[in-house]
């Protein structure tokens, strides 16, 4: 018998909560309203992970025991990943790091962590996506291409929908602006609101925009029509409820000068109301930052030591793999595929324990692989949306494996 349930999608950090899924005989038959990313998430792995120790098939209990042994024998283990796990699994991971007295970091370390840090510390104003839908009249996609990374972003929240104060939606009530180094899919939708800047010039463009907001004529080292910046500044100043969607293009350009982003937001808020929302990618990337912040006061790159927790660049996943870590527990990530080649080469020489539902490049070199159920499909829990809102996520079907949270709790038992 087929049953239709409402489901919260874990395909990306938008966590769309209006998905209709038809399930029959513990199989997903049809999915409505989910984009191609959500659909892919539901379809699951190309190849499911199996428990292995040293590349040989093993019993799951033996794999868990071996994982615990590696972590206990290591002098400086690193716990990494976490963005594809529920809050509950992330909390278990933080507990494991505290028990081991080791370093814990997440994919946000080289993603949106830097902007989320500013938001959680209160230096950059933010808002929710629901407020964006109801109120926002000017939205700036800076170094972000949601039409590729978060397909329903513009239709569900930011541009196309009719909101409480934006009854005429995109047609008359909203202005979309894209600032990017190339004409992305999002930039095409923004039409005349697209501002193309040369790669690496985001800081200079932002300074120019701050000047333009103050009525000064900006001076730029690259060829750009100054009149257009002045027009852009005028559009931003007129906003009743503006929002900057900070993509990785902006974050990577501005990471050395994050104070400038706060200065830019302050400059905007002198004239109008502007908030910033980081374009988090993985479904619970922001959750890890919130959970770690709650437990330690830091959002990432944390080392537990003598009952306390310290944070710093040297505890980032990159620095730890370069020089420090002698064992790595990877949860729900594929660092061999996603990290720079020089780092993944180094990682290959360190004992790796992988907890993941799927086979991937990291599973091919992992010393221990422990399959887990897929969060949001086979196991439920809670997660934090890209705007910081807590969301409940439910399971759809019964899986064959334990949840990542349960596996980590088993490792904690072994370690203790």
């Amino acid at each position: 018998m087929t049953e239709t349930v409402t489901w919260t999608c874990t395909g990306c950090a938008l966590l769309c909560e209006d998905i209709q899924v038809s399930i029959g005989d513990n199989r997903i038959e049809q999915v409505e309203h989910a984009c191609i990313k959500g659909r892919a998430r539901i379809l699951g792995c190309n190849e499911k992970a199996i428990p292995t120790v040293n590349g040989v098939n093993a019993k799951i209990d033996d794999a868990i025991k071996d994982a615990a042994r590696i972590l206990m024998e290591a002098k400086n283990p690193l716990l990494y990943g976490w963005s594809n796990s529920t809050n509950e699994a992330q909390m278990a991971g933080i507990e494991l790091a505290r028990t081991l007295g080791c370093v814990i970091d997440s994919t946000s370390s080289f993603c949106q962590g830097i902007t989320i840090n500013e938001i959680l510390n209160g230096t950059i104003p933010t808002c929710t996506l629901d407020e964006v839908r109801e109120k926002a009249d000017v939205m700036v996609f800076w170094g972000a291409d949601p039409m590729s990374s978060h397909p329903r972003h513009m239709s569900k929240y930011s541009y196309f929908p009719r909101g409480e104060l934006r009854q005429r939606g995109y047609e008359d009530d909203r202005t979309a602006i894209s600032i990017d180094v190339w004409q992305s899919r999002t930039a095409k939708i923004c039409k005349n609101g697209f501002h193309r800047i040369p790669p690496g010039k985001d800081i200079e463009f932002m300074r120019g925009l701050i000047d333009a907001l103050s009525g000064r004529v900006p001076k730029l080292s690259f060829d750009y029509d100054v009149k257009r910046i002045l027009e852009l500044a005028a559009t931003l100043k007129k906003a009743e409820f503006g929002v900057i969607f900070a993509g990785l293009g902006l974050v990577y350009s501005i990471k050395e000068d994050i104070a400038l982003l706060s200065e830019f937001m302050s400059a905007l808020n002198q004239f109008c109301s502007f908030s910033l929302i980081p374009m988090a990618g993985h479904f619970n990337m922001r959750g890890f930052n919130h959970n770690l912040h709650e437990k330690t006061g830091h959002i990432y790159r944390v080392k537990f030591d003598d009952g306390g927790a310290i944070s710093g660049v040297k505890y980032s996943v990159i620095e730890q793999i370069k020089s420090g870590a002698d064992a790595v527990l990877v949860v729900g990530s594929d660092p061999i595929a996603s990290l720079p080649v020089s780092i993944s080469r180094r990682l290959k020489d360190i004992p790796i324990i992988l907890i993941d539902p799927c086979m991937n490049l990291t599973s091919q070199v992992a010393d221990v692989t422990i399959p887990c159920s897929t969060s949001g499909i086979e196991v439920g829990g809670t997660a934090v949306r890209m705007d910081g809102k807590n969301m409940d996520i439910t399971s759809l079907v019964q899986g064959d494996n334990m949840s990542d949270e349960m596996i980590i709790r088993r490792i904690i038992e072994e370690v203790e």
Binding site: P151, Y170, I189
Partner: protein, 153 residues
């Protein structure tokens, strides 16, 4: 998008009337509107000198086979299921203001566009503003599509 002149250039242009239409241009319009198929042109099918034209016509008319009555074609292989058309379509908004109009998935069956299994699907196409006696050249679903997955022929 296939144009009438593009098709006309590939027809015999002899106005032989064997297809039942008065001229090749009339046959051209019938092809575009979907009331005739190019195989109903006897010279094109039987005479060797038109074999290249026949092949080209077959290629350019292929997308029309999947067209709805309004000429709507959805290229599913390009669609990312973003739902921009679902929320932007004025018919969707009018018939489902608290669902599609607010950015959510459609909450009833009166809408034209809805996303199923990650791809947009069309229904109720007669509701489309491009259909009927008061039709207009609406582009509300075409312009917001980031992948050019929607076109009208």
């Amino acid at each position: 998008m296939t144009s009438a002149m593009e098709i006309y250039q590939l027809l015999p242009k002899t106005n032989c009337k064997e297809c039942g239409e008065s001229t090749c241009m009339a046959f051209d319009v019938a092809l575009l509107s979907g009331t005739k198929r190019f195989t109903e042109c006897p010279p094109l099918m039987n005479e060797d000198k038109y074999s290249d034209s026949k092949q080209k016509l077959e290629e350019i008319l292929k997308p029309l086979e999947g067209a709805e009555e309004t000429g709507l074609i959805i290229h599913e292989e390009l669609c990312s299921g973003c739902g921009n058309c679902v929320v932007a379509c004025p018919v969707n908004v009018a018939n489902d203001s608290h669902g599609s109009g607010r950015g959510l998935g459609p909450t009833n069956n009166k809408v034209i566009f809805r996303v199923v299994d990650g791809k947009v699907k069309a229904a109720n196409v007669k509701e489309c503003r491009r259909f009927g006696k008061d039709k207009i050249l609406c582009r509300a679903c075409i312009d917001p599509c980031p992948t050019e997955a929607i076109e009208f022929v």
